[in-house]
């Protein structure tokens, strides 16, 4: 059985249908990429998987490790190992990164029946992950995502992923708006974490990311539907011909 299985998922916002029957299965150890133009429903899918309550699931189901994912609160999903890297990470004024990360780590540990993390152990753990994403110490005391560039926010998402070590990570355009150095760092963060136990769903707008992270499967999302799936050559094809090609398929 797949690690994440999406079956005939229909999602509406304010009565308007945005996802119109998505079927997708990601196995442990796999990286799937979802590509699609503006407004095709990529972030909607990501947020529904993370448990955002602004979206209404009208049909279908999502199984995560065999369990009904849609029944769970967002924090329960996180504690069970689902991670969403936000397209637009949120600023949390007044809450320092260390405090926030520690609270998150401890919430996950508690769920697993483990005690609170030891202060030294925690520091060692986050220092190691900071090195991975090339972040400096000053970040730790700063409020979450406040007063930093878009690129820094994306890097911070990868950092959080590295710290929390999820089983299944959804990255929503974590590559968008990054210069090549930052993109390489993000890609490396993902590649290091690629293990046989872990699954990834990479949402991207640009084929460029896939030069650095080799996906197992590529899906094209258009107007709320997966119109084509294939191997990584599909991304290259898309780069050359654009989405127009698939619009015909969809119609």
């Amino acid at each position: 059985m797949a690690m994440l299985e999406i079956r005939n998922l229909h999602v509406s916002v304010g009565g308007e249908e945005i996802l119109k029957g998505i079927d997708l299965a990601v196995d442990a150890g796999e990286v799937h990429a979802i590509m699609g133009p503006n407004g095709s429903g990529k972030s909607t899918l990501a947020k529904v998987l993370a448990g955002h309550d602004g979206y209404e699931v009208t049909q279908g189901e999502v199984l995560y490790e065999g369990e009904d994912l849609l029944e769970l609160e967002p924090e329960e999903r996180a504690r069970k190992g689902v991670f969403l890297g936000f397209q637009y990470p949120v600023e949390i004024p007044g809450v320092a990164n260390t405090y926030f990360l520690k609270a998150a780590v401890n919430a996950i540990r508690k769920h697993r029946g483990e005690g609170e993390i030891d202060a030294m152990e925690f520091l060692k753990h986050i220092r190691e992950k900071m090195k991975l994403v090339k972040m400096d110490d000053a970040l730790l005391k700063r409020p979450v995502n406040e007063g930093v560039s878009g690129g820094e926010k994306k890097r911070n998402e990868v950092f959080q992923m590295a710290v929390l070590e999820p089983k299944f990570a959804i990255l929503d355009e974590t590559d968008s708006g990054l210069d090549i150095d930052a993109l390489r760092t993000v890609a490396e963060g993902v590649n290091v974490m690629r293990t046989p136990e872990r699954g990834f769903l990479l949402i991207t707008h640009y084929q460029r990311l896939l030069n650095y992270i080799q996906p197992d499967r590529v899906h094209v999302l258009l107007d709320g539907r997966v119109v084509k799936s294939g191997d990584k050559t599909l991304a290259e094809e898309l780069e050359k011909s654009g989405y127009a090609l698939f619009e015909d398929n969809a119609a």
Partner: protein, 440 residues
Amino acid sequence: MEAAKEQKSVYLREFEAMPATGETWLDDLRRRAMADFERQGFPHRRIEAWKNANLASLAQQHFPPAAPGADIDGYLRKLTESVPDALRMVFVDGHFSARHSDLTDLPEGLRMVSLAEAFEAGDVTTDAHFGRHADTGEHPFAALSTAFARDGALIELAPGTIVERPVVLHYFTSEGGAGMASYPRLLVHAGTGSEVRLVEHHAGVADEPYLTCPVSEIVVDDNAGVRLQHLQESGNGAWHLGVVHVELGRDARFGMHAFSGGARFGRTDVYVNLNGSGAQASLNGLYMVSSGQFADYHTWVRHRTDHGSSEQYFKGVLDGKAESVFDGLIHVAKGAQQTDSQQQNRNLLLSPRATAHSNPRLEIYADDVKCGHGSTVGELDADALFYLRSRGLGEREARRLLIFAFANETLDSMTAPELRDHVEARLANWLDDDRAGGSG
């Protein structure tokens, strides 16, 4: 209303029954103040500065002046531990309690005595300043206070005196003060180039109605600095109607942080007159308002001459059926060029039933000034909440963290950092009382 005015108020009758001191200036001052109260009465909603205040049930009750001598030993330990190594004056039900106070090793140049003692001795500072600043003509409770106050603290700094130890004034309403009124006063005169840090702490017996009208008059001479930590933690049945009135000389500085979490009805009017060039004032605060409580800060910052600067930053957190007012005046007189004056008020509503009134008032008559203001009333940021939850934090914990972060920011400007733990603990307890809501 008119009919009621023809009769004497119960407060006037009580006033007339009190003995005169024989000190002409003081007796005259009190009589004038009483007349000011009698003319104004309890303010009603048609008076602009009191339009959000519902004082109907205060006006219907009568709170006679509380007697001296009540015991508060049990409570005191907590009070003294909160600011160690302080010079301390304790007032119980408005009366100085020497045995609870600590005035040992007063540094040279600092004078701290009870006002009752100063009145008795015909003290010249009290003659010059007591009741001369707080506006009894405009503020009915300042009037009531000046008419009825018999005690308080007199703090005088000789020019150039730097007081290193914090000066703490505890005003406590005891069980014996339930159903009664207290009018504690503070008079501070900081001579040229002197500096002092004050804590004004109001607390009282829980669940009992009482009235307290604390009035502080703070006169800061040229180039002197006074910092005030104001804590309004009156009992939850209290009517707390206070005034802090500050006069600033040339290059004088006043910094205040106010925290309020107490009282059924708590209002403090803060008047700051920047009379000399280059005077600076900073007023910050946090009000934490529970269901059934009303919290109100009215600020009156008046730039009367050039090169003054002032900043005001107040935040409020309201829960349940709570109500708050922030009403902030920035007045810049015609000649007050090069004034820099800023004001911010932010309110966080934890419940749809809570109401926060935010009312900036800018009266600017000079043309070469920098003035800014902002005010917001909002709920918890839903995106931030989702973001935290998506990282594993429970809804309750996430809400709590966001509320705490919002409020905690204002504590950076506390003028008595040694009380930060105390205030943070109050905030944390308040949040524990199920206010964070949510599950998990």
